[in-house]
């Protein structure tokens, strides 16, 4: 198996991009990525997108994106695992490189979510839940995570204030990210006084509806070493796992099994333990999700996620910075793009290019991207070599 | 021998007071309540309808009888508020109860008499030996037009009776019907609310048919009013049945258990059947019950039942009517009631 390097990264502005279509942002991120890499060669296109069919009525992205990228002669495919689609596209690109099928594999994550009404977006997102036995009963994604939040609060005494601090921290980080949808700081009161969406979660516990795309170009470490344009960033581990789609079928409501397994697989592949990792981008689609993810991966002990957040353990200057990009909450959550955007942030941090939000001296980072209410999870370990 | 082997009811949790409705229309609540002996009524939740109330009532009837639902050969749902104009309620109910597919179902409609229509058919089908058991349900979520006199009484509820030949709790003694074509109340196809003849619904309608049925069954059975332990008349309000009972020579002791309307409202097809259920909740063994329904249009079905000793062992297997009527209530303001009942115009 060949070693995999990330040689190019690209992203669009995240937000309500009224003047841009799905194909526009997908191609824009790819152009930025290829410019960053300084080369113009792609052997395969791997597109992560959750629901272009429901959001813009367009399937068959393999052809659409290849066409508008001007690469009609190469393999192109779309990969879907709800909000984890982006990182699965990266994983797919990794496989292309590792197996030697492609020398240069492009992964694009994209979602254009604002062409439908809020009700339409809520409906499209809810298709990541069990349609016949969850969504049928009127549950929403905030609702699913609210049930997890209640279980965690009752079991471990996690407080509303602790949850709010996840959002406060991520907005602080995001205030320094020029690509973020909401690049501003907020206070705990902003969260606690925001509209109740699904008890106990409020509007400011929830990631927004976002348009955006991100892209990464992978090649072998052998090839990458010849390029010398950027510091060498290597994907040393990836892991992917699933859990029951229905929240009611989970054995545990205070742990995300797919997250635990996917992180363990990625770490094992990289030959590392969680203690060897310097920082992480994780899937904070809701404030409780960040806490659950950190505990499930073993970064923080069970039930300690809330207090650790309040104590600044996961802050930009903390012992284990989490979501330096601003996370899904502040940066925005164009669902299919999120997993790729996490890799974008990891690479930028490892290269030392994150400017005001740069974490000094980081050598190894982890990205965790989740599908649905934890029905799927994908992790990547990236290292500066 | 044929009779009731299980009975059950379902009443929504929501209520609205007569004075809350009167406030909106500037009516004299006190005069209304005293005149009609009517104080509050049940309101179905937005997710309740004739099918759901029927299933709830029938489950309680099944629980009391203890029989396998597959033994039921027929399901009759009487209602003037079937959820679909075309598409049976009976199949929904039968499917939910696990009775399908070897069952005869029919949806019946006869204003407030549709419930006892089903009972009449079910009892006689079992009596003829065509089937072992038959289920009859009277259920409604009726609507009175906003501001109309009927708005104060039109309520929601269901009563279900399982008829059979084994372990009977109330044996059928006799039946008698009294029908004429009398247009005192109707709802035309596609009309949302019914229309009625005002005071015409009294003497030539309710009174004539109830009296006609009572007099006929007394003559047929050779019984007198004092022979009955209990009496249930259709109760569109709290006044009509009491007036009729007194004029016919019955006493309060006979009708008091079955009189539910003052705090339940008129559950239409469920009205007199629910009164029968409330009476069975309190009756002793070997007692005589006279049940007389009334449906506009118009007609009355009269039934004489004699309770058995099985009633005492069977009735605690499901909640009693007064418990459903009086416990865990949630009172609505008119605005909430209007929303629940789809009375607020919204864009499609």
């Amino acid at each position: 198996m060949k070693e995999i390097a990330v040689i190019g990264i690209g992203i669009t502005k995240f937000g309500e991009l009224w003047e841009k279509s799905l194909r526009d942002i997908a191609v824009e991120s790819a152009i930025n990525c290829l410019e960053d890499a300084g080369i113009d060669r792609i052997d395969s296109i791997n597109i992560g997108c959750m629901s272009s069919g429901l959001f813009v009525g367009q399937e068959h992205l393999a052809s659409l994106i290849a066409d508008y990228l001007g690469r009609l002669d190469i393999p192109s495919s779309r990969i879907e695992s709800a909000c984890a689609s982006g990182s699965l596209a990266v994983r797919s690109a990794c496989m292309e490189i590792a197996t030697g099928v492609s020398d240069y594999a492009l992964a694009i994550g994209v979602e254009k979510m604002t062409d439908v009404s809020m009700g339409g977006a809520t409906y499209a997102l809810a298709t990541a839940a069990d349609q016949d036995y969850e969504a049928f009963h009127g549950i929403t994604f905030p609702g699913l995570y609210a049930m997890l939040a209640r279980a965690h609060m009752e079991r471990y005494g996690t407080t509303r204030e602790q949850l709010a601090q996840v959002s406060v921290k991520n907005h602080y980080n995001g205030s320094m990210n020029p690509n973020a949808q909401f690049p501003f700081k907020i206070t705990q009161d902003t969260v606690l006084n925001s509209t109740m969406i699904a008890d106990p979660l409020r509007l400011m516990d929830c990631s927004p509806v976002t348009d955006g795309a991100a892209a990464v170009l992978l090649t072998t470490v052998e090839q990458a070493k010849k390029l010398k344009k950027h510091p060498l960033v290597v994907i040393t581990g990836f892991g992917s796992a699933t859990d029951s789609i229905a929240l009611s079928h989970r054995k545990e409501l205070t742990e995300l099994q797919a997250v635990k397994t996917s992180a363990a697989k990625a770490l094992k592949m990289a030959g590392k333990t969680i203690d060897d990792i310097d920082f992480a981008e994780v899937h904070d689609c809701f404030t409780i999700a960040e806490i659950l993810v950190l505990e499930s991966m073993g970064i923080i002990g069970k039930g300690k996620g809330g207090p650790a957040t309040v104590d600044g353990y996961t802050a930009l200057d903390g012992k284990f910075p989490v979501n330096p990009s601003g996370g899904l909450k502040s940066k925005g959550h164009p669902v299919g793009a999120t997993g790729v955007a996490q890799i974008f942030e990891l690479v930028n941090q490892l290269r030392g290019n994150s400017e005001k939000r740069q974490i000094p001296g980081v050598k190894a980072g982890l990205a965790q991207n989740m599908g649905g209410s934890g029905g799927s999870s994908v992790c990547h370990i990236l290292e500066l070599k | 021998m044929v009779g009731i082997i299980g009975y059950g009811t379902q009443i929504p949790r929501y209520r609205i007071k007569v004075k809350e409705i009167a406030k909106v229309w500037g009516a004299d609540a006190e005069a209304l309540s005293k005149g009609l002996n009517l104080y509050e009524k049940s309101v179905p939740a937005p997710d309740e309808d004739t099918a759901t109330l029927s299933v709830g009532a029938a489950k309680n009837a099944l629980a009391r009888s203890g029989i396998d639902p597959k033994l039921i050969g027929a399901v009759y749902v009487g209602s003037e508020s079937h959820p679909y104009a075309v598409k049976p309620t009976g199949t929904i109910v039968s499917e939910a109860l696990g009775i399908c597919p070897h069952v005869h179902t029919a949806d019946l409609e006869f204003a407030c008499k549709a419930g006892t229509e089903g009972m009449f058919i079910a009892l006689h089908l079992v009596k003829t030996g065509v089937m072992e058991c038959a289920l009859a349900i009277g259920a409604d979520t009726s609507q009175g037009a906003p501001g109309d006199a009927l708005e104060y009484s039109a309520s929601a509820g269901a009563a279900a009776f399982l008829m059979g030949t084994k372990n009977i709790v109330a044996e059928l003694v006799d039946t008698q019907c009294y029908m004429t074509d009398t247009p005192d109340f109707w709802r035309r196809e596609n009309a949302h609310y019914p229309e009625h003849g005002g005071r015409f619904t009294g003497k030539p309608a309710y009174q004539k048919h109830v009296f006609g049925a009572v007099e006929a069954i007394l003559e047929k059975t050779g019984m007198k009013p004092k022979d009955f332990d209990y009496l249930i008349f259709h109760q569109p309000n709290g006044k009509f049945p009491v007036q009729a009972a007194k004029q016919l020579g019955f006493t309060e002791a006979q009708y008091r258990y079955g009189l539910l309307t003052p705090t339940l409202g008129n559950t239409y097809s469920g009205s007199s059947p629910m009164g029968l259920a409330a009476t069975l909740d309190e009756a002793g063994p070997d007692q005589l019950i006279l049940l007389v329904s009334y449906g506009s249009g118009a007609g009355s079905d009269a039934f004489v039942f004699r309770t058995t000793k099985h009633l005492l062992t069977n009735r605690d297997l499901a909640p009693r009517v007064r418990k459903q009527l009086n416990e865990h209530l949630q009172y609505l303001e008119y605005g909430e009631y209007a929303k629940f009942r789809g009375k607020i115009l919204k864009p499609e």
Binding site: D132, L144, R150, A198, L201 | P46, E48
Partner: protein
């Protein structure tokens, strides 16, 4: 058009029909073709009792299409007496006094409809088990 899709689930939605693995006894709701516990493929049909207790819940205030008119409403995960867990709405209750651990019982209710002239979709909801 939701008709075939809803109709297909009638046994589960109308009377909570579940599948009990003939080998290990694990109950699956809805029914599966492969037992998640022992991978056996032979099952017996059983009807759930409808009785259970509330494990966790939320109150939906921003509702999806089709549910806007009944918001706010509670949705929870109920652990049935038979051990299997089911998600459903909790109704006929004071939303703010709901507690995890509450005893609930299923009721047959309307869940949704295809507009005012379309199919009415019925299924189970849960209500407090207060003996009425």
């Amino acid at each position: 058009m939701n008709v075939p899709r809803h109709w297909r689930e009638t046994p589960e939605r109308y009377r909570m029909e579940a599948a009990k693995c003939r080998k290990c006894g694990k109950i699956s709701f809805p029914a599966r073709l492969i037992c998640p516990e022992c991978k056996n493929k032979v099952f017996d049909k059983i009807n759930l009792s409808g009785k259970g207790k509330l494990l966790t819940y939320t109150i939906i205030r921003t509702a999806p299409e089709g549910f806007v008119d009944i918001a706010p409403y509670a949705v929870g995960i109920v652990e049935m007496k038979e051990g299997v867990r089911v998600m459903g709405q909790i109704t006929d209750c004071d939303l703010l006094s709901l507690k995890t651990g509450d005893k609930l019982i299923s009721r047959f209710r309307r869940i949704n409809e295809e507009g005012k002239t379309g199919l009415i979709m019925y299924a189970y909801k849960f209500v407090p088990d207060v003996g009425i």
